[in-house]
Symmetry: C3
């Protein structure tokens, strides 16, 4: 297993880059992810590209011996682009635009924005696709983060109608499949179908379920567009996406089918705090994290892309985004790293190299403190580098128990829960946890997986 | 007392209708309510009526010996109608449209929609008004369900201004009555008065109270329009509406004055779960329902239309719409049925005949299961049919205690509560409950009722 | 210290005014605040002023020996004015207008509304500026009440851009200061910057902080416009504003710099109920108020305008606006009055003279009941008048401990809290409370205060 970190050369003086790279190597890191939020620096004005700084950053990092994972910057389109087509943003269930000023301010269904993505990804792939330091590509960043996989925009409505027409052929088939005779909800044409929001009471669950499938398919095709460009221009490099924890808004198995490596962003303390765990569990695991959260996702994402997987972002200290943000206990960063290795990760990449003194994540820890000195995680990363050498590569994970996980089932139970407190993913997690307590090795697999051998 | 059920021939193959009717009779049911959500099947396109299927359904049910309560389908206008006048939907307090995709997607104040209602109700009344199997009409369905009696649309604003002009004559009288000199809220014309939403802080409670009165009057006139058409074309048939539980958004006494029979929809477990009862009470009565909820409404609705009342929808098993949806204990459906009889109901009609395999209520139990076999309630209904024969008609309800219930008082206390937890309807319910525990017979009556004899 | 009350001659028959004034004097009151919500009576139609009633009210009160604090009526622009420029209202963070129908329905950044304010304030100042009974002016009323200091209107966006241009000179300086390189949030012109609402996830905290500073500056300049007019036309009269409790949406030190006297509105029971105190504390202090709430604000507002301060509105009984509105224990109104005196207040003015039988505050107690008889607070006010004579003026407040309070710090911690439950103002209050328990005299001072002598 390799170690790495997430680095943003555009955040720091160019004079520091070489020293930063040297210190990464010294710390035992061999990979570095860059670029995924840098659109406004790569293309500061429409059509005017500034490659020089990125050329130098890549060369500097590469020259130091680091392998680079280069991100496509499509999660943060610049203001000039949004201003040029304001309807590219997602619309929430209440009908409000989700505008510029943070990130992920785009609707997956907006076709002209897809063309912009094709343009910027092609430009990057053409320039860096065969650069020797480029080892892999990351598409976009955390699809769906901040509930962005579902949009109710006009673009989404139009694409949904096409999706329905393709699926059902004629509208009577749709009416029959959904049971629209109930409450006189029958349609006479696909054009009459709207997204299932802003209804008086709950919409038809079949309507909701198809909308969820459609939204998921939009993420899949959005990602595929980028993957195809990257594959064409950058032979031999892995295509990776960094998924999130406890996130089911789109079908990760479907996106994973277009990737070489499924990665995820592991924030054990943040996830404990943000999800359904009891106050008691939150207190008990406050500074170490619930013992099954990381493992559950390791085993889930191992099943998402032919067994190749990694941790693209590993929590190195307090985060800034949970309700409460404690520091991990000493040793936890090392433990989390080795745990990922035991589950078969190819890479654990710490997020981020150095804590920032500005913007949304200025309270988010890194391997370095804001002042450039080592933060507590730095020494743990160094220990891990030694541990990995000592331990050698882990053997093959034995096939023991397969836990089937269906994203579609999650959408279905959200649309028609048995009771208010029922959560499909919580059920899956509890089953996983129970199986782990029996000492079993678990593969979390898709409904289409081959179950032979378990 | 008669037993009946709610049936939707349009949901099932025509080949099953005769057998369904035969099984209803076999179960001891003598009435059946149909039609109230069937607009898209009666008039699939503007002005093109398809009566044949409904003719055959009515004939089939009538030929089996069932008396039919025919619903007007105005609670579910079809998509083509909404598309033809998109401003017919209600607007919520936040200014958002409450669109198509479930039911009750209309604003009571939208005059062109009223004309559509007049058209469809007239067409139905002309065709079936004197059909021998038609025993009664139900107007619309559950007025106000899903908080739909209050709308802040442009249509509502315009109608409110007219209502105010009629009530106050000149705007200075309105200013004086509301006390608009406070905070410089004086108006110079009725046209300047808006609905009381989207204000910076709470609007004038007199403004709110008049808006609530206006909204209630809109429901009353909406219902009256239908009642008058039905009376004209269907002599000798009862006009019924099915009210809801713990619902005060309009004055039921005023609507009841235009009905022959007030009915209500009794869901003892759902209501326990959805309203203000403590967790302790919810656990205690989980599968039987609070002992006073059904009785309270029986006695309330008996006072709403000259003493003639019924239960149009009786919970037969788990519902789908509460937070948690337990199954009633064995025997509860029978108990609820006989309790209604003891309070003087003319009819208890189970909702619904057969559980559906699709759409919003697919998790809602019926007398039959989805597969057509008996659900647990079927046998209890049969027992009730026997019980009713054995017991004979209950005697006159003695006049003992009158509990005065004022819908206007409820609106007033919502506009100006004494404290956050105060609810007028809860107070009335608690008083009712206390009186019941003293073994008293209670009539819940309107503020205009004759209190002689108590 | 003087006693006074808040009085609304426009709410009562003119025939009662003289008797009311006589009873105020009899009760020991010597000041009366009037006029702050009377715009619709002063200018019932655009440009048509009705001064006669106000002339007579001022003369009647003055002739009785009362000193008058005259309020500018800009917190309640009349409907005709709002109808003439509907975009003058504030827009909330969700994009919804905050319309007419209560009070404070204006955006501080709307320049044409400022011109209207200049017009009405000039007209009042010209007419009454040198009237011998006029002792002071109150600008507007409770700036920011009902969360109105922050608006996301087009007017606010335009003014924000100008404010940014003035602060940063060029947009690259803004990008650098905010760290907009993070997440590609860089702007190419000030015109591209929007208010920080409706973003997908949290906006840049630097963006938020500058918006908070801007919004505060808008309140300051709004107030200054009025203060300058009043000073020019009404020499020798104090300019006062009545601030609120636990309210930090704008910098009170900055507004206070343009005032002669900082006053605040003291509702000890209402504030206990509305803020963060535990249920236990709310029960314990239910009818007397938390022992430090009033003192905290006395010491805070003493530091807001060169040491001259007063209580413009003193709770005299139950209020109407908290979740629960208990009556103060007997003696509390007297205690609160004398407590203000001990902290150095120049005036305690009871809100209001007589309880109203209409509109939003009809459940809010006064010195008199709705029927004109004494409410419990009347006798306590009389006792206070005697107490004040007996006790004489309190000496100089000794300089002991300075507690530095920064409104900007509050905005910063709201934008980037350390944890969900952290509140800067709560921290300041807890520190104040701890220092009080040590028996210390506390001055709450601005970050720019001279700390010598402590």
């Amino acid at each position: 297993m390799k170690l790495g970190c997430c680095y943003y050369p555009e955040h720091w003086p160019e004079a520091d880059w070489a020293d930063n790279a040297r210190r990464m190597i010294e710390m035992g890191l061999s990979q570095v992810r860059i670029g995924e939020f840098a659109w406004s620096r790569i293309e500061p004005e429409p059509g005017r590209f500034e490659w020089d700084w990125l050329d130098r950053a890549i060369d500097t990092l590469g020259d130091a011996g680091l392998e680079i994972i280069l991100g496509t910057p499509t999660a943060t389109p610049p203001k000039w682009l949004v201003d040029s087509m304001p309807d590219m943003v997602a619309i929430d269930a209440e009908g409000k635009p989700r505008g510029f000023g943070s990130r992920r301010h785009y609707c997956f269904s907006h076709r002209p924005y897809r063309e912009e993505c094709r343009r910027i990804v092609t430009a990057m792939a053409e320039r860096y696709g065969e650069h020797p330091a480029i080892r892999a590509w990351q598409t976009d960043n955390e699809y769906g983060c901040h509930d962005t996989a579902i949009s109710y925009s006009a673009a989404a409505a139009a694409a949904f109608r096409q999706w329905l027409a393709q699926k059902y052929g004629d509208v009577d088939a749709l009416n029959a499949a959904w049971g629209n005779v109930f409450w006189s909800m029958e349609y006479h044409s696909f054009d009459a179908v709207d997204p299932p929001n802003l209804t008086v009471t709950e919409p038809n669950p079949a309507h909701v379920l198809d909308y969820r499938r459609f939204c998921s398919d939009e993420v899949v095709s959005f990602n595929r567009l980028q993957a195809e460009i990257l594959r064409a221009h950058s032979p031999g490099r892995d295509i990776i996406h960094n998924f999130m924890g406890f996130f089911t808004q789109f079908d990760h198995h479907d996106v994973g089918a277009d990737l070489d490596v499924a990665s995820w962003d592991s924030y054990p303390l943040g996830f404990l705090e943000q999800f359904w765990f009891s106050d008691d569990e939150k207190r008990r695991y406050l500074r170490q994290g619930h013992p099954d959260i990381a493992a559950f996702h390791h085993d889930l994402y191992r099943g998402c892309s032919n067994g190749r997987w990694s941790v693209m972002e590993q929590q190195p200290g307090p985060v800034n985004w949970a309700r409460y943000n404690p520091a991990p206990l000493p040793g936890m960063v090392r433990l989390w790293t080795l745990e990922a290795m035991a589950h078969g990760a190819e890479l654990v990449s710490y997020f981020r190299w150095r804590q920032l003194p500005f913007a949304q994540e200025q309270m988010h820890a890194g391997l370095l403190r804001t002042d450039g000195e080592d933060a507590p995680a730095a020494e743990e990363a160094r220990q891990c580098a030694t541990d990995i050498k000592t331990l050698g590569e882990p053997g093959e994970i034995p096939k023991s128990v397969a836990l089937l996980f269906s994203y579609e089932a999650d959408w279905l139970f959200q649309a028609q829960p048995q009771g208010k407190s029922f959560r499909y993913i919580e059920l899956a997690f509890e089953m996983y946890s129970a199986l782990r307590q029996l000492g079993l090795d678990i593969d979390i697999v898709s409904p289409h997986a081959d179950l032979g051998g378990y």
